[in-house]
């Protein structure tokens, strides 16, 4: 293995632990990460010159953030660490990466993919207006830049991030117009027994909601977005329907929204790992077992990029995948440690089922999206254009529908619109979501300058 060091892609919780495990076994992995510093999104570090404490930045998770950063900083001298590096293609033992405006090909034998996740969103009328961001984006503005996304903010959607980000804003002195949860109260109440088994996650959630209410902030359940309205070409109002069916309008100059997370799977796709539909997470995921091994030899998966399980699971999975890689090269690895990691990962996976029930993906918002709503923000394709091309051209699969409509063909490659577009298509054709398929990953997985691509004859 030493002629071609193992490669770790991503330096969040999964990638950091994978790299540290390889170093502990005597290897010097190459770690490629798009961010300027390790930590991933959840433990993203502030730029140099920023002074807030770990406690201020990461709250309850300050100790975990500090441990993960320290673990990575401790191995920096033993790895080939390349921050600010985008892996834009990967196939058959060769990957292409871009850093400082230069592209390079690296040949590999073993690679651990730990690319993480992004917000899962569903478009609603007006969502492309200035002032409207994802929940993750709103959190980055605060954590990474010390900024609020507006002066009167609505937080809307579902999932643990909704209350966490709203709470972080309230604590930092941001002005919140309301927290609007699409999940009906009854669904959350039904999930309580399961949530209680999930350790501190539930307690933290209750704490955030109580802290928001104590500040007099409106928290509403079971809502549906109607439209964002504009004044002077930026958001000024969020209209929504209450659980009782009453339409309300909230003045605001910013909206943060999201409906859980979606895995980054483009590189796993390019590596030719087969995908299957996960009915619990309602997304197609690259196949892998609990050790992180995939049907493609030498390619391992860890963290939220292989299915959403959160940061704690990502750390465990990163270590487990690295141990799998070592086992596959004939190393003795500690059996009790492997068993403990797998046991913990299984427990988190069971808890995930409860979490998904407590924060269900409100697929009806996509199914009932008005025809004039922009579905694909890159190419400005409306839901109506997408539906009519699917009907008229008999596109019963999402890649055909993309080719006909350009929905998902823009710069983001369907990262933003993909999950909602699949739901729109499935509803339009009256098919189950797994039947319409998934948008295929294409190199380059993100935009790169033409000038850096070396043309091979």
């Amino acid at each position: 293995m030493n002629d071609r060091p193992p490669i770790v892609i991503g330096a969040g919780p999964a990638g950091s632990r994978a790299a540290a495990t390889l170093v502990a076994a005597g290897y010097s992995p190459i770690v490629l990460d798009e961010a300027p510093a390790s930590g991933g999104q959840i433990y993203r570090r502030a730029p140099s010159g920023f002074t807030r404490s770990y406690r201020a930045l990461y709250g309850f998770d300050a100790a975990k953030a500090r441990r993960l950063h320290a673990a990575f900083d401790g191995i920096k001298g033993s790895i080939d660490y390349r921050p600010g590096t985008l892996v834009w293609d990967l196939k058959h033992g060769a990957l292409h990466c871009l850093s400082n405006g230069r592209s390079q090909e690296i040949s590999y034998r073993d690679v651990i993919l730990a690319p993480g996740a992004r917000d899962r969103i569903i478009p609603f009328p007006g969502w492309t207006l200035p002032g409207i961001y994802t929940l993750g984006g709103a959190q980055i503005a605060l954590k990474y830049q010390g900024c609020a996304i507006g002066t009167r903010i609505v937080f809307m959607g579902t999932g643990p991030l909704l209350y966490l980000v709203a709470y972080q804003y309230a604590k930092a002195g941001g002005a919140i117009a309301a927290v609007l949860d699409t999940t009906p109260f009854a669904a959350k109440r039904r999930a309580v027994p399961g949530l209680l088994r999930g350790g501190s996650t539930f307690a933290k959630g209750l704490w955030y909601v109580a802290a928001l209410r104590a500040r007099g902030i409106i928290v509403a359940n079971g809502i549906r977005p109607v439209a964002a309205e504009e004044k002077d070409a930026a958001v000024s109002v969020l209209a929504y329907r209450s659980a009782a069916g009453v339409e309300r309008r909230l003045a605001c100059d910013a909206i943060a929204f999201g409906f859980g997370l979606s895995s980054e799977t483009q590189l796993a796709d390019l590596a030719e790992i087969p995908f299957t539909f996960d009915p619990i997470q309602q997304q197609f995921l690259p196949e892998h077992d609990i050790s992180g091994r995939t049907p493609v030899r030498g390619v391992y998966l860890a963290g939220d990029g292989s299915g959403i399980a959160g940061a704690d699971a990502a750390e465990l999975a990163g270590e487990r995948a690295a141990l799998a890689l070592l086992e596959d090269h004939g190393h003795e690895v500690g059996k009790p440690r492997v068993a403990a990691l797998e046991r913990a990962l299984r427990q988190i996976a069971e808890f995930r089922v409860t979490l998904e029930a407590a924060f269900p993906f409100p697929v009806d918002i996509a199914e009932e999206m008005p025809d004039d709503t922009i579905l694909c923000r890159c190419e400005a394709v409306t839901a109506g254009e997408f539906r009519s091309s699917a009907h008229a051209l008999e596109a019963d699969e999402i890649n055909r529908a993309k080719a006909f409509s350009r929905c998902g063909m823009g710069r983001c490659q369907g990262r933003v619109c993909g999950p909602a577009a699949a739901a729109v298509l499935a509803a339009a054709l009256n098919l189950p979501p797994e039947r319409v398929g998934r948008l295929r990953g294409q190199p380059p997985v993100k935009p790169i300058p033409m000038a850096v691509v070396t043309v091979h004859p």
């Binding site: 890159c378 983001c412 990262r415």
Partner: protein
């Protein structure tokens, strides 16, 4: 000037940086992303190529590609993952749309 989109809540004790936005001289802080620099001075980054409507970014984590901005010399940069630098000259109006 219109009210800016972003509001600083913390970390504002950093060195000042000068930049130009559509020819207007503006101030930002060292360590700001280009997105932060633009949105603490206004409410837009660019125009959509498919209409005149303004855009101001979305995911802030380099996934959505909504925040690519143009410098006066034609260089294109993803605003959420690029730090602002002294003397940068950014154009948020779309040349294509303005020629219509």
């Amino acid at each position: 000037m219109e009210a800016p989109q972003f509001r600083r809540l913390a970390e504002s004790d950093r060195p000042r940086i000068r930049l130009s936005i559509d020819g207007r001289s503006c101030e930002a802080l060292a360590g700001d992303t280009l997105l932060t620099a633009l949105l603490t001075n206004g409410r837009r980054l660019r125009s959509s190529e498919f209409g005149d409507e303004p855009r101001a970014g979305f995911c802030l984590m380099g996934a959505c590609q909504d925040c690519w901005v143009t410098l006066e010399d034609g260089t294109r940069l993803r605003a959420c993952t690029t730090f602002v630098a002294e003397g940068m000259r950014i154009v948020t109006a779309s040349a294509v749309n303005d020629e219509r």
